[in-house]
Structure formats: C-alpha cells, structure tokens
Amino acid sequence: MPDAKRDASSVVVHKKTLCRACRICELVCSATHDGACSAHLSRIHIVADDFGFSFPATICAQCKSADCYGACPRADRALRIDPDTGTRYIDESECDGCGSCAEACPLPRSPIWSKPAGEAAVFFKCDLCRDIEGGPQCVEMCPWDALVHKQRKQR
C-alpha cells in the first residue's frame, strides 16, 4: 500500500486570469475519457461568468493528504494512488458509487463528480490522463497557456 503523504503526484494547475473560458479543456477531457463531448463528463469544470475577467476552474489538486484515498471504503480501494507517479485516480470499474471520496475532498468545490453507469453511478475525477500518451490533454490543448502540468518536484 503506497504511503499517500510520501508519494506526491504531479498536478494540473489552472490559472484563472489567463483562462478565457473557451472550455476546450472540458471537451477534450470528456472526448478522451468517455468518447463523448460534455462538460458533465469532464474532469475539469470552468466557471464561465460571462461578465468576469477571470474564470476559476474546478480540478483535482492531487493533494498530498489524499483524503479521498483514505475515505474510499473498499478494501481494495477504487480510489487509488499510482505507485510510480503518485497520481490519485479512480478505477471506475471498481467504484461502487458511494461518494465517500467526494465528501472527503477538502476543496471548496469538489472536483469529484458522479455519472450514471448502468443502474448505478460511478464517481470520476482527474487522473492526469495516466493512460494517455502525451499526458494531460487539457494542458496540451489549452490555447491560452492557462493550464500547466506541474511535475512533482516543482510542487
């Protein structure tokens, strides 16, 4: 079992004053992970206040405390920490949909959401595109340099 506190992860950092709310990040995220385009399947959400100058985002902070990891009630953990990279991610095929991880999240707006899966629901969150070549797709496609993939050593 990896030590959550020790195994820091890299993280995607969003800069709200550079963000222009084009929402390309949401679209590439959902297209890549779910094969469909929708903000409701995206692991990053942009708060697009049309009258604002800055656009805050909700995205997993990959925090060192990993409260979500500790909260997952399954013995074999659906919310996992990658032993090599430290990435906190949900194995959606193992998730029971209890929502303990989302409740445990210390961020003011939880970046762990649920979606229907058959009869039940599963929770999903940013997994730093761990299975995708090229890393976080939102960072690759952001036209404004508002998203940065910060390596674990830089944190």
Binding site: L18, A31, D34, C37, S38, G52, P143
Partner: protein
C-alpha cells in the same frame, strides 16, 4: 448511407405557440443531405413556409439550429444559426439567416436537440424552457419590458447559473427591425432583426439546461483530427500571415474557439439597472472601435479621392465618443437588444444631413458629436418614439417617409446599399477590398439574402495575404508562393490578377467560397476561420521557409467523418454546400420572386471606384460577370433560376418540379402543405 453514430443528437424540437403544442421530430429525415444548421432550416422552410408569409405572421417559422459540430471539440463550433423571414430585408421581407456565438447552441445539443422550430404566436408573453429532452412554455409577464441583461440574470437565478439563455430586449418587443436575439454579452443573432420576429411571437426568452453529451463515433480519430485543426487555426484569420499571440483581453465569442479574433475587452464601471454601479468587463467586437473613434470606414483614404470618387456622397470623418463614451453607448444599445451596426451608418448619415443643411428631423435636433444625443436616440428607437419610431423600421424606409433633400436619401442608400444592410467588404463605402477581391464580394452580395458575411469574411482573410504591391498587402508575402497555393487549391493562379481577366476562374472560386459558406453555417463553424485555404505561420522565418502557404481545405471533412462515423469527404461537403445554396435560391425564387433582375440591383454600388485602387464597373461588365457566375452555378442566364439539370444532379428533383410548376402556372404548389413533420413524438 449508414446511420450516423455521433455528432447529431437526433431530435428537432417543434413548438407551436398558437396551439401551445410541443413535440419533436427526427433529425434523420434531413441527413446527411442537409448537414445541419442553415441547411436543415432551409429545407424545413422549403417544405413548410408558404410564399407571402410575413415576418410577423404567426405562420412564420423561427428556427434555432445547431450543427453536427455544435457542442464538440471542433474549433469555433460554439456558433449557432437562426433562420426566419426577416423584417429588415429590402425590397421585401424574405427568408434569411443570422449567426450567434456563445454557449447556448452547445447547451441545446446537451439537452438532446439539434434545433428548435417555433411556429405560431402566443396570446400572452411566454418563455420556453428546455431541460434534458423536455420542454415547456412558461408565462413571461414578469420578464416583458426588461432588458437583455435583467432577463438573463433573472432566468439564471430561477433555472441555475449553468442555464444558457437567449432573449429579446425592449427593441424586440417593439418590433424594431434591427432588434437582436441576445445571449451572454455581445453574442447575438443581430443583423436580420430576428429579435422583432421573436417579439411578434410573444416569446421573450429560451432557457436551455442540458446535462447530456454529444457522442463521437471514433473518439481517438476525432480528437486527433481536432488537435491538428486546432493547431492550424490557432491564430484567427483576421491576422496577418504571421500569427500574433493574442493578449489576455481577448475573450473568444464562441464555445471551443481557440482564439479571440476581433474581440477585445474593456474593464469599465457600468451602470446596470437602477443606477446600481458594477465593475464589469465589456467585450468589444471589431466594429466597436468605431464607437471610440480613430477608425472611420465610411470615407475614401484621401480628400481628393473623396471628391473624385464619392463626390456628393462623401461622408466626413467624425471624432469618436472616446473609450468611456463609446463603451457606454455600446452597452446601452446592447442592453436594449439592438444591433450595434446601426450606430456606424447613422453616425455618417447624420453628418451628411448636417452638411446638406438638415439640422433637425421630426423635431429632434441632430447632434451626432454628442454622447447624450445618441443615448436618447437609441432609447427612442427601441421604444419607437418620435424619429426613433421611423428609424425603427430601417434607415431607408424612414427616408422614404421623410421630406429630405435627395442627396441625403442617396447617402443613406450608399451606407446601406443592398438588401437594407450596411456596406461591408464591398470596397466602396466600407473597408478597402482591392481588385479582384471585390468582384468575389460583389457576386456574394448579388445572390445572397443579406450582407453575405459567411462568404465574404474569407475574402477579407485573403486580402490580409495580398503581396505588397497591393494596397494594404503584407511585405512578408511572396507572390509566387501565393500563386502556387491558389494553383494548388483552385487550379488557376489567375484569380489573383486584378481586373476581369481569368473571369471564369474568378467566378468558379466565388462559387466555391459561397458553397463553403453554406457548409460553415450548417456544420456549424465560425465564418472568420473556415475554410483554411491559407495557413498561419508562427514567425516570419517559418513563413519564408515555407514552399507555399497552403492551409487545409479538407479540415472540415477530416473532423466530420470520425465524429459521425459517416464516410464523408470534402467532395461530399462541397456538394452539400451547393445543394443548400440551390435550395436557398429556389426558396428565394418561389417565396420572394428572386430573379436576375433582383440580383442586378446590387450593381450600382460597384460603378463607384474601389477605394484603394480605383477599379470600377460598368453595366456591361457586370452582366458579363454575372453570366459567367450563373454558368458556374448551372443557373439560367436569363432568369437566374437553377436549371433542372443542376437541381437533379444535387438530388433536388422535387425542387425542379416545383420551379417548373411555378414557371408554368405561377403556383407555388404548396396548397396541401403539411404544417410539420408527420412522424412526431
């Protein structure tokens, strides 16, 4: 062709306001032939919109359409299109279209609909609420009379911050022909006066909340194609050939747009509702600069050219209203739900009035240099008071009813020269457009139903690429490489030569741009950005090293095929564009008496010289160009009607039959018209 497995979400929402009836019908009936957006709307109009239907008739259809790309990663796909009979068009109200950016159109897809078709008129003010496959009409008594920001704020409070709203302001309620359908700020279907159509239907707003998704047939293939096209279009085509990194003040006007081309944002303290002071950001489109000053489109470059070319029609330069004043006026116009273009033409027209001794109209003293005059005038237009009541019907109709010197009336026509729309990209009253580019635009103007934005923005883009021996050309561009690019795409570099040589090649290219414009408005994609005939380069060195300047004219199809799972090629899209244009033409002919004679009324503007190179036209040359263009289109030279051969080649045999009946009996053949689709849910 097999059924699509991505892109379209499958249903078109039908709302009959007279009967209070709401149902939906399958999009599949229109696929893949009509693509989406303007294509499907034009087919619905052909099937269901009877000749003589006026803009304010309950039988007029008001259609809000998405396309297969709406709500997806395809760059600039946030655009939607609205189609209806417009109260603004001259000489008669006719069917036309208007685009709108923002997040409303994608939200409609997420709510499960490819479009909304509104028919009828409600007795009482209503608004339509669409949420995840369901729709209902609700009373809007408390919204009626409110401005576009108040309505959006109220409905977001009621339906959640994530709800997307379009609405009309007081101008739409009072049927002002320049009334907009408004969304967010600065997003509006603005030019065709559809706000007035919505007002006549007593429909104040449409709220959408959708939590669904747009499916993708081949996600990996689609994402890969999108990434490639995003890189290709990363800088807007309003740019010079070498890309400039946009500053953080550019907020893109549409969902999934990777740049903010001509928009800038101002941080200003704004008085919104009841004197409440809020610090907000206002975005400013390209024409917004004219409010501040320092950019006068409506004059020739030098006084000598003014005198020589425009003569009595010259309009003088004006001081702008400054940053603060310009912002305040733009905000007021927007708040009332009016199109911001009106200021640009009215400003020049009032100055011409003063120059010709008209200092007062209908009791209103003309003070076009002063901000308070404008604030009062636009309020009067929106609420139809005094001179505002006349101008609310359009500048030219107002001139018809006023006693004014002829030259003042002619100046109004000069400023809004064709179909009741302001001059733009014709190279005369508006920006320069050196030969041969204005020839393309002249033809777009001649056959379109409004100012042909979708097709002529591309000509403006090519203008940016013109080599230095053209006025305004770029010193970085190598003419030989540009010619090589045009040879590669169009097979003939001669289209770049000024004047009327290589005429058939020029009209062929014009047709291609126009067909592509129909596709842009159907997919839907931004008309500034597509098609990508030319690339953008990151540096002067990269530009210099390139063999030619080719972009990628297959970009649209390369994204559409993996999105939908259909085997769609560029050739299929070109054909669909031509089909949509021909159907639109047939509709104009059947419903509005469009003909060669009507097209030719656009000619007079081009007898004046182009403002940067002095090239001009005479009637004989115009007829020669129009002949060549009709030949390319397969339209009859004498009548301007599409021929049966061409219509059948486009799969429009039923349209050919209808035109034949019309020509033989004068009957539209719409006696047994069905009011809507038979299959309904």
């Amino acid at each position: 062709m097999s059924a699509p497995t991505g892109g379209w979400v499958g249903r078109i929402l039908r709302v009959d306001l007279t009967a209070g009836d709401i149902y939906s019908a399958a999009t599949a009936a229109y696929l893949p032939d009509y693509v989406g957006g303007k294509g499907i709307a034009t087919r619905i109009a052909w099937d269901e919109l009877a000749p003589g239907t006026g803009p304010y008739s309950p039988e007029n259809l008001l259609m809000f359409m998405t396309g297969p790309f709406s709500g997806t990663l395809a760059p600039t796909s946030g655009k939607g299109t609205v189609c209806s009979v417009s109260p603004r068009t001259l000489p008669d109200p006719w069917f036309t279209y208007s685009g709108m950016g923002g997040n409303w159109t994608p939200e409609l897809k997420y709510a499960g609909f490819d479009g909304i078709v509104v028919r009828g008129a409600a007795d009482e003010p209503l608004y339509l609420c669409v949420q995840d496959g369901r729709a209902e009409l609700r009373p809007a008594d408390d919204l009626w009379g409110k401005d576009v920001f108040a309505v959006q704020e109220l409905l977001k409070e009621r339906h959640g911050e994530a709800a997307q709203v379009i609405c009309i302001g007081p101008a739409g309620e009072h049927r002002v022909v320049s009334a907009t359908i408004h969304h967010r700020q600065k997003n509006c279907a603005g030019m065709a006066g559809f706000g007035a159509v919505m007002g006549a239907k007593n429909l104040k707003a449409i709220v959408i909340r959708g939590t669904g998704a747009v499916q993708i047939a081949d996600p990996a293939g689609f994402v890969e194609a999108c990434k490639r096209v995003h890189r290709l279009v990363h800088a807007g085509p309003t740019e010079t050939p070498v890309r400039m990194k946009m500053g953080p003040t550019n907020i893109p006007c549409a969902h999934a747009c990777p740049f903010g081309c001509a928009t800038r944002s101002h941080d200003v303290a704004l008085r919104l509702r009841g004197g409440k002071e809020k610090r907000k950001n206002i975005s400013v489109m390209c024409n917004g600069e004219a409010y501040e000053g320092g950019w006068n489109w409506y004059e020739y470059p030098t006084p000598a050219m003014e005198e020589q070319y425009a003569g009595e029609l010259r309009t003088r330069a004006v001081e702008g209203l400054g940053k603060r004043g310009g912002d305040e006026l733009q905000l007021l116009i927007e708040t009332l739900g009016l199109s911001g273009w009106s200021y640009l033409t009215l400003r020049c027209w009032f100055l011409a009035c003063l120059d010709h001794g008209v200092g007062e109209i209908e009791g209103l003293e003309l003070r076009p240099e002063e901000l308070d005059f404008w604030l009062e005038l636009f309020r009067m237009i929106a609420y139809r008071e005094g001179l505002g009541d006349l101008l609310a019907d359009g500048l030219l109709p107002a001139c018809d009813r006023l006693e004014l010197p002829e030259v003042v009336k002619k100046t109004a026509h000069w400023l809004e020269p064709m179909w009741g729309f302001p001059s733009h990209r014709d190279g005369r009253a508006c920006e320069p457009q050196p030969s041969p580019l204005w020839i393309f635009d002249m033809l777009h103007w001649a056959i379109d139903s409004r100012d042909p934005l979708a097709s002529h923005h591309q000509t403006g883009y090519i203008h940016c690429w013109f080599p230095p021996h053209y006025e305004g050309g770029s010193p970085l561009v190598d003419r030989a490489k540009l010619e090589a690019t045009f040879t590669r795409v169009f097979g003939d570099p001669g289209i770049l030569e000024p004047g009327f040589a290589h005429l058939d090649a020029k009209t062929r290219v014009t047709k291609w741009f126009d067909d592509r414009a129909q596709i842009k408005d159907s997919l839907l994609l931004c008309d500034w950005v597509f098609p990508r005939v030319l690339n953008g380069f990151d540096s002067a060195q990269e530009l210099e090293a390139a063999d030619d300047y080719y972009g990628d004219v297959d970009a649209e199809a390369s994204m559409l095929a993996p999105l939908t799972g259909l085997d769609i090629t560029t050739a299929d899209l070109d054909l669909a564009g031509e089909r949509i244009r021909n159907l639109d033409r047939a509709l104009q002919i059947r419903n509005s008496g469009r003909s060669r004679e009507v097209d030719a009324t656009a000619e007079w503007v081009f007898e004046y010289p182009e403002k940067s190179d002095g090239t001009r036209l005479d009637r004989e040359t115009f007829d020669r160009i129009l002949d060549s263009y009709y030949d390319q289109r397969g339209w009859d030279r004498k009548t301007g009607w599409p021929t049966r051969v061409r219509l059948e080649a486009l799969g429009l045999a039923d349209v050919a039959d209808a035109l034949e009946l019309l020509s033989e009996t004068g009957s539209s053949g719409m006696g047994d018209i069905r009011p809507g689709p038979e299959e309904r849910e």
